[in-house]
């Protein structure tokens, strides 16, 4: 019974935690620009992240190692610095984007500029990390994140055609603006396959004391949680296709995105959008700040743990204490939140091989996994998506920058 409860909670966490500023903005841009044509990119990202989350959980349950810990031990500190820097850099950018997302939600509600809200938002995230426990961060934020189901309600109210949704699962060539099409596709994959998701998951599994008995819970959580979470991203895309694409509106600023829910759901839809953006980004900011601290502390072998008092893991606490105000400064400086979000997602896709390949090597090492090493399907799926996303990002990022 308790395992079923764990699975249910894991799925709810997956649904509530999936949507954040990256998947929201990129899905909205995809739907507005290309109708239902880019659903395949969400599907590809979901498959990849489901495999990665499952692997990170399996590694934690069998070897009781977190990812950075195992990487440093297996490859040595000099090699480990490459994924450490790559993950830390993209995580920092994504953290800045999430803080910008919460600040924008507050701007939409109050009329006060997001630049004013950025530092108070960072302070609120810091306070919750300082005072809270892992359970509060992990489960609390994700449960509140269930408000994002409003997008599914919106898509249903808009009568999004199921046939178009299904046909969008098959990759097709763009009818116009190929550079933007591929850039949006890699941004969607980057938003879905954010390294913070599986790094955070592995640290959480070790901190929660997972063992071999959790393998079933882990598999179900990864597969169902990520699939349902991806379903919400598809709903965002469908709303954008039905509201914006048909009117020839492309998403160039966040101010256009609340129309996705106000059109089908009226005034309640507007407030549900504000709540979705605020809560989803706040939850993601909590997780990313914590993941940055986990990454650095585990990588350098410092004492770590969100369930410890700050003074018991001082350097771990120091990492998120420094990262949060620095990330908030990006918004205070006036960087366009949508551009920051989309660029950080594309860079995430670009960095995937650096962050994913060491994990794949670990997952095939019997010294860590015993008889639970990867099968060929998971190896092939994750490697293919990571390498393809990286190559497409290499081509699409410069083209998009030059085009705009």
């Amino acid at each position: 019974m308790s395992k079923l409860l764990e699975i249910a909670l894991g799925i709810v966490t997956g649904i509530g935690g999936f949507l954040e500023t990256g998947s929201l903005a990129t899905s909205a841009q995809a739907g507005a620009g290309f109708g239902f044509q880019l659903i395949w990119a969400i599907a590809l990202g979901v498959i990849c992240i489901a495999f990665l989350v499952e692997m990170a959980g399996r590694l934690a349950a069998i070897s009781h190692h977190t990812l950075p810990d195992a990487m440093r031990e297996r490859f040595g500190i000099r090699f480990f610095l490459a994924p450490l820097v790559a993950v830390a850099l993209v995580s920092f950018l994504v953290l800045a984007a999430e803080i910008g997302g919460v600040a924008l939600a507050l701007q939409f509600a109050s009329g006060v500029s997001y630049r004013v809200w950025a530092l108070p938002v960072a302070a609120a995230v810091w306070l919750l990390l300082w005072k809270g426990t892992l359970g509060v961060v992990e489960k609390g934020a994700s449960l509140l994140g269930l408000v994002t189901i409003a997008f599914v309600v919106g898509a249903v109210r808009l009568h999004a055609p199921l046939a178009d949704v299904v046909s969008g699962l098959l990759p097709t060539a763009p009818e116009h603006d190929p550079a933007k099409y591929w850039f949006t596709a890699v941004s969607i994959i980057g938003a879905s396959v954010s390294p913070y998701l599986f790094y955070f998951y592995s640290a959480g599994a070790v901190e929660d004391g997972w063992d071999e008995g959790y393998l079933g819970v882990n598999r179900a959580t990864a597969a169902l949680g990520m699939t349902f979470g991806g379903g919400i991203a598809v709903a965002v895309l469908a709303c954008a296709a039905m509201v914006l694409h048909v009117r020839g509106i492309q998403v160039d600023r966040y101010e256009q995105i609340p129309l996705l829910l106000s059109t089908p759901l009226g005034r309640a839809g507007f407030w549900l959008f504000v709540a979705s953006l605020g809560v989803a980004c706040f939850g993601a900011a909590l997780e990313i700040a914590l993941q940055l601290a986990y990454l650095v502390a585990q990588g350098f072998g410092w004492r770590w743990g969100e369930n410890l008092r700050p003074r018991e893991a001082a350097r771990f606490t120091l990492v998120y204490t420094l990262a949060l105000p620095l990330a908030a400064l990006v918004s205070v400086a006036g960087m366009d939140p949508l551009k920051l979000t989309v660029i950080s997602m594309a860079l995430t896709a670009l960095s995937l091989p650096v962050t994913v390949v060491p994990l794949l090597i670990l997952m095939n090492d019997p010294l860590y996994l015993g008889e639970h090493t990867n099968g060929w399907i998971s190896n092939a799926a994750v490697l293919a998506v990571s390498v393809i996303a990286c190559i497409v990002a290499l081509v699409a990022i410069p083209l998009q920058i030059m085009g705009s």
Binding site: G248, D252, E255, P258, L259, M402
Partner: protein, 86 residues
């Protein structure tokens, strides 16, 4: 041996930069993109007005959306002028 490898890397980098530069947009393509963006902002302003009129958007947000649409429209018009000028 090492010098040859450095040269190969530099050539590859130059090739990549040349390929990217060659893909830069022509004035016609830039004008077309600016016109699309302009139409997009005009449609955004219309939709935000309609939504506000039927009470789906609060007044405070409707004015934020209108301001964003105005700024977007002005920027697109400027890009259109730049792309059209010889």
């Amino acid at each position: 041996m090492r010098r040859g490898r450095v040269l190969a890397h530099r050539l590859a980098l130059l090739g990549a930069l040349a390929a990217v530069s060659a893909c830069g947009k022509s004035p016609e393509a830039r004008a077309k993109q600016a016109a699309t963006t302009l139409r997009s902002w005009q449609a955004t302003a219309r939709l935000a007005d309609e939504e506000h009129a039927r009470g789906a958007l609060p007044g405070e947000f409707a004015s934020q959306a209108a301001r964003a649409a105005e700024q977007g429209r002005a920027k697109a018009e400027q890009q259109l002028r730049q792309a059209s000028s010889p």
